[in-house]
Structure formats: C-alpha cells, structure tokens
C-alpha cells in the first residue's frame, strides 16, 4: 500500500515542460488557498459588504437630501444613489483586492510565507497565484453588490453581467498586483495603516466614485488621470448607467472607450506584476 520512497535522484526539473507543470500547480494552489480562506471566513464576507452599503445608503441619501437641486442639474434625472452605485461596486473591489494582497504581510508574520518562498516554484508563479486569488475574491465581492441593481432601478442582462464581471476582474487584478508589490516591501501591519491613509483612500476618493471627473481644478484632474481605479469606475458606470453619465476619461481631447480602459488596466497590472516579482526576488 505504501508508495515507494523515491528521493528525487535525477534532476528534479528535467525540462521546461516539467518546470511549467510545477509552476502551474503552484499558481493553482496559491489561488485555491485564497479562495478557500475567503469562503471559509463568513464574518469577513458579510462585514465587508457593510461598508459599501453604508456609503450607498447613508452617504447617497444624505447628499441627495441636502444638495438635491445641484445634483439634479449635474446628473439629469439620475438620482445620486444610482450615480454612486458603480463607484461603490468599484470600492468593494478595491478594498477586497488590497486586503487580499496585504494578507502576505500576515503570512510573513505567521511564518507561512517561508513555506511558499522555499518551494521549488518561481517567484512569478507565487505572485501570479496570489494576484489571481485576490482578483477572484474581489470580483466575487463586487458581484454580490450587483444584487442591489434592480432595487436601484438598474436593469441587468446576462451579457451586461458578464462584461461587468470581466471589468471587475481586470480592475481587481491591477489593484491586487499593486497590493502585492507593496506587501513585498512591507514589514509590519502598522506600516499598512500608512499605505491605507496615504494611498488607498486617495485612490478611492479620486476615482470618480463620488463625483463626475469633470470641471475639476487642473491639479486634481491630472491626479485623477493617474489613478488606476478611475479606469475601472468609468467603464462600469457607462455599462450600468449609460454613456451620458460616463462619457469616458478625456485624454488629449479623446474620450477613452471601455476597451481602452481595459487595456490601460491590463498594462498597469503587467507593470505591477513585473515589479512585484522583482521585489520578491530582490528580498533574499
């Protein structure tokens, strides 16, 4: 019944195919672990829905009540709560993605990261597995919020949901990759609080989630164009509420379309991935 104990005698990685298979196994199990932990942690699943709902209901209703007239002028007959909705979906994606990536810091603190780093798989496989895991979880978290769409009078159809899922995944992938790059260098959870205050929150506020990115002061419109989250919010709003409300981020008098937004997110993700792999390799 026992398997023969066969210490790896010859070259363990005989060919690039074998190495690729080993790395694929690594990517899969790192992804699987993140999804499994997310699924098992119901408290986190439910509590992380609380914040977006709070923003939507309290913030949305409150602002509508006090600034109703001005908002109507800007948004036409779309209520502010509806305007806010795509931004809140993006917010759920942003925070879940960042928290998934930052779990690397916990793994470092509790020692599990070493189990991963001494494994015979490449750093690229580790980063890719982690990025895919975080993106899957973040996409799922955003997708749950789509349940609210009918209540807000936003109609969905299967194709639209599919497009939204793709967009959420891409946004999440870009942000998780960025989070992994940060986590690779972060030595403590205390430092994470800094990152949260000076990077993640500004990214959220400047993404166009709360207000249209039009007619802003010059400095601000420059910064919003550098914010990767903006390239997720705008196409999501276009898909959910139509092109009138989200005509596309303007760069040199050209309004970006959904495909272009996607390409920008993908390019950002690629750069972050390369830097993250490099950061992990440089650590030794």
């Amino acid at each position: 019944m026992t398997t023969a104990y066969a210490p790896t005698a010859g070259l363990p990685m005989r060919s690039w195919q074998a190495a690729a298979r080993a790395n694929a196994g690594g990517v899969y199990i790192i992804w699987y672990r993140d999804v499994l932990r997310y699924w098992r942690d119901r408290v986190r699943l439910i509590s992380s829905l609380g914040q977006p709902l709070l923003f939507l209901v309290v913030f949305g209703s409150g602002l509508t009540a006090s600034l109703g007239a001005g908002l109507t002028k800007e948004l036409g007959d779309v209520s502010y709560v509806r305007f806010l909705f795509p931004g809140i979906v993006a917010m759920a994606v942003l925070f879940t993605a960042i928290f998934s990536a930052i779990s690397i810091v916990w793994d470092r603190e509790f020692g599990f990261l070493r189990e991963v780093l001494v494994a015979p798989i490449s750093r690229a496989a580790v980063v890719l597995g982690k990025a895919l895991g975080g993106s899957t979880v973040a996409m799922f978290q955003g997708a749950i919020l789509l349940i609210l769409a009918p209540i807000l009078g936003v109609s969905l159809n299967p194709l639209l949901v599919l497009e939204l899922l793709g967009l959420m995944f891409l946004t999440a992938f870009a942000l998780t990759s960025m989070g992994i790059l940060i986590a690779a260098r972060l030595q403590s959870m205390e430092a994470f609080q800094m990152i949260m205050n000076f990077l993640i929150m500004p990214m959220f506020f400047l993404s166009g989630a709360f207000f249209p990115l039009r007619g802003l002061p010059a400095w601000m419109s420059v910064v919003t164009r550098l914010d990767p989250v903006a390239y997720g919010v705008d196409p999501m709003r276009r898909l959910l509420l139509g092109a009138d409300l989200a005509p596309g981020i303007k760069i040199a008098s050209h309004h970006l379309g959904t495909v272009e937004d996607g390409l920008i997110l993908a390019a950002f993700a690629a750069v972050m991935m390369v830097l993250a792999v490099w950061a992990f390799e440089a650590q030794e």
Binding site: M1, T2, T3, Y5, A6, P7, T8, A9, L11, P12, M13, A18, A19, R21, A22, G25, G26, Y28, I29, I30, R33, L36, R37, R40, D41, D107, F110, G111, F112, L113, R114, E115, V116, L117, V118, A119, P120, I121, S122, E284
Partner: protein, 326 residues
Amino acid sequence: MSSIEAIDLVKSFGRLTAVDHVSFQVEDGEVFGFLGPNGAGKTTTINVLCTLMRPTAGRARVAGYDVASQRNAVRQSIGLVFQDPSLDDQLTAYENLQFHAHVYNVPGRQRAQRIEEVLHVVGLWDRRGAVVRTFSGGMKRRLEIARGILHHPRVLFLDEPTLGLDPQTREHVWEYILEVQRAHHITIFMTTHYMDEAEHCDRIAIIDQGKIVALDTPDALKRMVGVDIVTVQTEDSEQAAREIQERYGLEPQRDDTRLRLEVEAGAEFIPRLVRELGVAIRSVDLHRPTLDDVFLKLTGRAIREGEADPLALMRLHGRLWRGGRR
C-alpha cells in the same frame, strides 16, 4: 556520496560574520547535528543551505546541487522544519499538506496516498480535518515534520525542531523524527542547543561564533574531555585551584564558584581529594562527560550561558521602558 558538502562557507551581514569559513560533509543517511548556543550561526547556516540566503563566499552543495546556482533543484530535494511554525492555521492539517504537495509538484495520482501515509507516521490521521489553529505546539511540530517529508526529500533540515516544547513532547517528536529517518533513510541535518538531543546524532559539529570548533561522533567528542568530570565547590576557589594544580598536576577550570576537574578515575579520586585538600570542601559532584563539558572545554563557556531566557529579556525590557519614561 555526500548529501551535504560545504566548502569555506561564509555568510556576513554588514560587519557581522555569522558563518565564518565553515567546511563539512554530511554522508547519505546520516543524522548530523549542529550544536551551539543561540547566535552561534546555526540558523544562518541552514538558511544558506536551503537557499533562503545566498552565501557571501564559499560553496555548498546539497543533494549534489549547488545552493547558489541550482536553487530550484536544491529546493525540490530538501524538506524543512523551521524554528518557528510556518503552517496556515486557518486551514486544516490535510489542506496544509495539500498545499505543500502542489507547490512541490507531487504527482496528482500519489498526492492523497502520500498525505495519508505521512499523517499516519506522525499520528495525526485522526485529526486531519481539524483546523490547525486548534492544535497544540507538539501537534503543529509533528504536522510540520510530516509536511517536510511529503515530497520525499533526500535531506531533511530541522532547525531546533523541539524548541519551546515540553520535555515529554520533545521525546515524542524525536521518536517521530528517528522513525522517519529509519524508514526512509533520509539524511537529517539538525540544529539544537539541547545536549540530550544532540546525542541522537551520528556526528556533531560544535559551532561557536560562526566557526566549527569540533566535529566528530558524540562519543569521540566526549572522549576529548577525559574520563570523568569532578566538580568541587570549596570555601576558597583560588587557593583550592592552586593546591590541586600543584598536588595532582591537573588544570582546574573555573565555572562560577565551582572548579571542574577532568580525572581518569573519579570515584577513587574523590576520597583522596577530600582527605588531602587544605581548603574546606562544600560539595563534590561526579559525572560522566556530557557534550556541555565538551563545549566548555573548547570555548571556555557553557552553552547555557549563551541562551537568552525570553521571559527574563521581556522583564528587562519592561524595566528599561518604564525607567526611561519616568
């Protein structure tokens, strides 16, 4: 063929040289121990051998692969049990092993069977579905040993495998380690600062301040010290030491308020000493040489002196902290 071969290995951090031109060989199937106080360079040596750190100078081969240039091959050939736990305590025992099987490329057909085998070896099969958070320290360590051999490594590295465990659990963990070693003929490289654990080794390298000061079998090392160790405590150590040196031609070693003497036949020597010594004797002790005596002879210090008691350190920090604020 040797499983581990280190030639003039050096690892420094800035000015500090943690591993200082260390050379040794470990044969296939051997249980090889690194014995020394904390901070002697034991863990750093393991980190270099298992590719977690790059050597500053020198070369090392593990399972025939170079630790600097063939890192993935080395990683595939070794199992590791770290000093600190490295399990995911939100996953079950089984899931932790599943994770390991995937990242170490254990073929899909064999995964379930191997996981079952190693869980039986360490006696955790019944607890396979329990989340690791609920495990005791000893159970976690056993699970890590199981994980360390899951991918059938040629060399198993154990860095202080029983640190922080109570004596009874330590004994159990050792039974499992030796069981694994016998069953699979794995080479074991371990570090420890417990003398009794070092006795399990076929050969021991005694390491102090980054250098190997002696390397041999436990018995041969103990023979270096002499036959018997007599420890005397007297009213006046100075006077007693002088007298003993003159009368018996021995070289007494000071250890706190006691004198250590290495003598051929301790049982016969003690009555003579009591009768003839001009200084009043408070206590006399006779024991066979231990590895601690070997360390003391080679370095002039006891291993336990180098050991920092974490609680005492915490109390000290607490005092300093409060003192500084006042």
